[in-house]
Amino acid sequence: MPRTRAVPNTDDEAELVSRARDGDGEAFAELVRRYERRVYRLVRNITQNPQDAEDALQDTFLKAFSRLDSFEGNSKFYTWLVRIAVNEALMKLRKRKSDRTVSLDDGIDTGEDVVVREIAVWDGDPEQKYSQQELRAILDEAIASLRPAFRTVFVLRDIEQLSTEETAAVLGLSVPAVKSRLLRARLQLREKLTRIFKRKGEDIFAYL
């Protein structure tokens, strides 16, 4: 049975990339339309700043366009794009925080950030209790408090839903390193959110 081709899908992606590589602007524009939202969300989450995010978005696609020759086609176009986007986003962070080193390097491991301090159940459902804007602000603040090395892993794995292996490949890390950073990021975010959402002033296990 012949396959319908009405909806653009990844099947034609190789062709789009190859046309774009030959200088076809329309083909590249189609690739932009496919991925601009995801790239924007990614760089917005890493930079935590709308202006930096827009700059990183533009620079990502400009670099991708000029480096299409180096895209070998053995990885997905999207993961190739993500690698460029992560670098651009980290570069913007470095520029803004010139007093602090922003790197994917773990730094000195004090083990301090894996400690679970706040053990308390949440008070009802935060998604019902807070407005969208309030919740957005809380989540932004929590994610901004993570070190870039952890933040980046969290964003790729838990927000962009890349696999552990893809995340490792994109960041040039080992799979165990990705897993350990992911766990620490998750626990730190849990800690931050629990401080805000916890049930207050009563025995936390009263419901059990």
């Binding site: 602007g25 917005r44 919740l135």
Partner: protein, 81 residues
């Protein structure tokens, strides 16, 4: 813990974790609030992508494309004699 949160297929591991958290309120709370943390981040993502953002991006790309064409065809702007 990651594997459990990622809904691992490893039935053995799932059973072990589930057995433990049934008897350990502290762990139960940590698992529960971590799961809710991940869910809330997934549910509340930045989905807005203003049209102006797309337009400014396309303008920069068009500029670059024009520059590239000028470079690869240096005489294109010179009318033929």
């Amino acid at each position: 813990m990651n594997e459990y949160l990622d809904e691992t297929e490893d039935a053995e591991l799932r059973r072990e974790v589930e057995e433990h958290i049934r008897d350990c309120p502290n762990c139960w709370v940590v698992f529960d609030t971590t799961k809710r943390t991940l869910r809330i981040f997934r549910n509340f993502q930045i989905e807005d992508f203003p049209e102006e953002l797309h337009e400014r991006l396309m303008r920069r790309l068009e500029q670059r494309l024009r520059q590239r064409r000028r470079r690869s065809q240096p005489d294109a702007s010179v009318p033929p004699a």
